[in-house]
Symmetry: C2
Subunit: 267 residues, 2 copies
Amino acid sequence: MTQATGSIADDPPRSVLGRALGVLAAFSDASPELALADIVAATSLPPATAHRIVAELVAWGALERVGRGRYRIGIRLWRVGALAPSARNLREAALPPMQDLAAATGHVVHLVVLDGHRALFVERLAGQDDVTVRSRVGRDMPLHASGPGKVLLAHAPASLVDEVVARGLPRLAPGTITDPAGLRGALDVVRRTGYCLSREEMTEGSASVAAPVVDAEDRVVAALAVVVPVSAALPPFVPAVRMAAAGASRRLGHRERTEIPLGARSG
Amino acid sequence: MTQATGSIADDPPRSVLGRALGVLAAFSDASPELALADIVAATSLPPATAHRIVAELVAWGALERVGRGRYRIGIRLWRVGALAPSARNLREAALPPMQDLAAATGHVVHLVVLDGHRALFVERLAGQDDVTVRSRVGRDMPLHASGPGKVLLAHAPASLVDEVVARGLPRLAPGTITDPAGLRGALDVVRRTGYCLSREEMTEGSASVAAPVVDAEDRVVAALAVVVPVSAALPPFVPAVRMAAAGASRRLGHRERTEIPLGARSG
């Protein structure tokens, strides 16, 4: 009888739909394949409820059953997700200049967007020797600890910077900026120069050059970055990264005006 | 009171979860942004039910509200979908050789998988002049009317070929194979040669060269293709496409054995 009504307060006081979304949320980059017992553990759902939800998700194609009672995200959910604007319009606009940047430099190229208090990889092209980079499309990272994260933070509302600072600035690598004043100063530099250089902020051995991608309404919607070994000189990559970011922005309908860095004479 | 129980037979005899999945399925490549009225029309749900489901999907991040009461797929659903193996393992394996192929040829490069009775684009890299190609990640196409589609069909169970034939072979472009015997003959050629040449089968003005991507268990899991103008000679692209497909296969753990085309002497 519990099967039919669906909104009995079994355990977590959620709707049927909320429970189903909880099942989907149990899958992650670290756990892309789960057994029913894992899903039960992650969602605190009664096993019978979890089983029924999983069966319905499999029937629709949101989940796929793999051998031995394990499940993973299905191709139909991927298709629906691919309709999200970040994956669709942004990626389509950015991909050609990203390909050019990857081809010209031979290094890993990232496209990163803001997702709440985190930075989210929406695209990643491979370099000739992708050694130290363990990025992956769909994975996230802290905003304070990378070039693209700082670019996004530099152009976000000041309240987001306050919130990120309030949550703490954990050290991830030798170069991570861990003090609030240092972070705010770095964001000022990003806004003033139009790009961001980072050395070992997220990963030891890696450095990056990042620049903002701007849409038709002058909003910074993404950061585009190249990742290089920390031994490399970064300035030679700046014009190429800015070109790629400008190309992506133009393809999003952004119209270039007189640029701030050229106009900002201090003398 | 109807809100609390959730499994009342309002209209279509479906569960709450089934209705929510129906709301997601209303979004498509042709309609990536919908008003509530569109969702009601597409799902046949009572407006109040549709509204409640949409609100819950927005709260979770499966949908995003855009201005003026319109909705689109949200970044959180994209993230979950990105965990699907086709988007994750396959794409990661195929991307570096696809980038090389795009850079070497300057043409659009596709990665395509089987999805029921259709072929589904899971990755697309841009060419220098992508004129006639209107492909898009997440979009599908008929199996019989393209190079990658025929590669997938050639390596699918015979029952799938029968089903595709039974559903009819509509003409999409001047070169579409519309007779069953012709299609079966073309699939034989694909199996024998290890690649597929197509001219104006799906799009007037476009031709393609496609080859299979094979996983560690010797299953053809995808087709990789380059799209060129129909005026181009196709044979020069065959070795490059096969190299890219072989590279993707090797990165999936496939071990090359003595190849069929070399061993199959007819004399």
